[in-house]
């Protein structure tokens, strides 16, 4: 079984993000890390591959930089990576990203595509759904449990009031939530092997995809931040501050 996993290298979330003043794009350092939420999709892929003697290929779009994030994903056990690194794609919106990733995945062939629900540095959360439409496969989204079944694949899909069991035949796309599985930590051997695993770099032209600008950022402003209030060091009676705060607001 061929399993494609979409992953993203993002600036370390522990450092504040900056936007460049001209285009309002996130400033991306050379060293970018694997988006933590991608670990869940990679783990699902590895488990499915282990159950089906399959291959796990990572797909990512963005500047290669040091490839730190991609190597982190390979170290978990993925077999290889395809990276679309193309300056003309800078500032791409969700649809452009979905077109590029879909074209790259279709070119390699796939049975299952796995993505996270949304990236940590982005704010659209629409790429997996768009890819499903482009690839003409079911979008098994918000998956909190994934099982291979006779018909193909079954998931527990998170809903506002609980969950539903959704079944589809393959090929299919799975968009998984954090917590779907416990991601494994890379072993020392995995980290060493990741250094020599194949990373294929492509451009939009290689994939035959042309991207149009759909939307432009007109302005970016700082949102007025909430102000810090009273800070109390607990010396045993700070709970009384909470009680009076709740009384003031007539909660109790």
């Amino acid at each position: 079984m061929n399993i494609a996993v979409c992953v993203k290298q993002i600036p370390d979330p522990a450092t504040p993000y900056e936007l460049d003043s001209e285009n309002h794009w996130i400033v991306r350092p050379n060293d970018q890390v694997l988006d933590d939420t991608d670990r869940f999709g990679i783990e699902v892929a590895l488990q499915l591959a282990e159950a089906s003697e399959g291959t796990v290929t990572l797909f990512s779009m963005g500047p290669s930089g040091s490839l730190k994030g991609i190597r982190q994903a390979l170290a978990m056990g993925a077999d290889k990576a395809v990276l679309i690194d193309d300056d003309t794609l800078k500032g791409s919106d969700a649809l452009a990203t979905a077109r590029i990733l879909s074209a790259a995945i279709a070119a390699e062939g796939f049975d299952i595509v796995i993505a996270g629900t949304e990236s940590t540095d982005g704010f659209t959360g629409a790429v997996p759904q768009m890819m499903s439409e482009i690839l003409d496969v079911p979008c098994l989204s918000f998956a909190r449990k994934v099982d291979l079944v006779d018909e193909g694949v079954a998931i527990e899909r998170q809903t506002a009031s609980g969950y539903e069991v959704v079944t589809a035949s393959l090929p299919a796309l799975l968009a998984v939530t954090a917590g779907v599985v416990e991601p494994r930590y890379p072993t020392f051997k995995g980290i060493m092997q990741a250094k020599s695993k194949p990373v294929d770099t492509k451009t939009a032209a290689d994939l035959g995809v042309e991207i149009n600008v759909e939307q432009t950022v007109a302005a970016v402003t700082n949102v007025e931040a909430r102000q810090a209030g009273t800070i109390v060091e607990d010396a045993g009676e700070a709970f009384l501050e909470i009680v009076s705060f709740l009384k003031d607001r007539k909660v109790i």
Binding site: T37, A160, S161, T167, A168, T216, V217, A219, V223, V251
Partner: protein, 314 residues
């Protein structure tokens, strides 16, 4: 001009999110709703009461609606030469919006807090954990697909009449089809997280899943709901339905009590609209203190039990 709104049924009613969208949509033009669910006369009356002039009704029965809804809605939008279609942040909203945008090659803007129609479509959204506000202009030769943040608008009935009803049949979705074979409702005690006037939320600082016992007890005493950060959901201490943040729920209670939560960007975006915030954390440098009205630098395992005792004695 017709403003299109996507609405989904949950437990026999339109979602709160769909009614919030109607409030915005009717301020922009005449409202057509694309409704996915079983539907009923009461539901049509509710949609009309919130400003829907026309309702296009698709009942997917046991099919996963996203592919079929995107195809059917896409045809309707094209034949109407529509300018804008509004979606909420529900999971089906997001599934249909994404498929629809790809299908129509239409621009999609996410995280929207406001929408204006001028010479095109202008969308205001917040990014990077709500620290930056971004104004996006969308090219105006096609429909703009706008996905809004929860509670961006306030729902309000206006006493509208029964809307015109049009049945939409489920298109053949071929190899994009999927079937819903079971539906489960997970009961939770007390008020719903999004509606509670007090939210007691726990983070990694609780140390283990057992730490949520005192969160539940405190929430019970305050008639509130229990929430959690992404870290504790990832760790499996509480289900995903408890998650407050960018990838979880957005809450705006009267009081939000953050216990052992550091205040990562992804969490803050889901709770910074709270009327007031209390934070309890051991680390005096935790970013949560920068937005808390009352910050207690201390051990949650001491402060919370003391608070619970004090509330019991009230």
């Amino acid at each position: 001009m017709t403003i299109w709104v996507f609405a989904e049924e949950q437990l026999g009613s339109p979602t709160d999110g769909s009614l919030e969208l109607l409030a915005k949509a009717r301020s922009l033009g005449d409202v057509s709703v694309f409704y996915v669910g079983a539907g009923s006369d009461d539901i049509w009356a509710t949609l009309g009461d919130h400003g829907a002039a026309k309702v296009h009704h698709l009942d997917p029965v046991d099919a996963l609606p996203s592919a079929g809804a995107a195809a059917a809605l896409g045809s309707l939008l094209e034949s109407d030469s529509a300018t804008v279609v509004l979606f909420g942040s529900g999971n089906t909203d997001r599934d249909v919006a994404g498929r629809l945008a790809a299908r129509l090659s239409a621009p999609l803007v996410g995280g929207a807090l406001d929408v204006a129609l001028d010479d095109g479509v202008t969308v205001i959204s917040e990014i990077l954990g709500g620290t930056k506000s971004i104004t996006t202009k969308v090219r105006n030769d096609t429909v703009a697909v706008i996905v809004t943040r929860p509670k961006a608008f306030e729902s309000e009935p206006i006493g509208g009449g029964t809307p015109e009803l049009a049945a939409v049949s489920m298109p053949d979705t071929g190899r994009s089809s999927a079937v819903i074979s079971e539906r489960h409702v997970e009961e939770r005690e007390g008020p719903a997280l999004e509606e509670a006037s007090v939210v007691v939320s726990g983070g990694r600082g609780l140390g283990s899943a057992d730490g949520f016992d005192m969160m539940r007890e405190l929430a019970g005493l305050l008639e509130g709901a229990v929430g959690g950060s992404r870290a504790v959901v990832d760790a499996g201490w509480v289900p995903y339905s408890y998650q407050v943040g960018q990838t979880g729920k957005t809450v705006k209670p009267e009081v939000y009590i953050a216990c052992g939560i550091s205040g990562a960007m992804q969490h803050v975006v889901g709770m910074k609209g709270s009327a007031s915030i209390i934070a309890i954390n051991k680390d005096p440098d935790a970013p949560i203190f920068a937005i808390a009205d009352l910050g207690i630098v201390g051990d949650v395992h001491k402060v919370v039990p003391q608070l619970i005792e004090a509330l019991k004695n009230q």
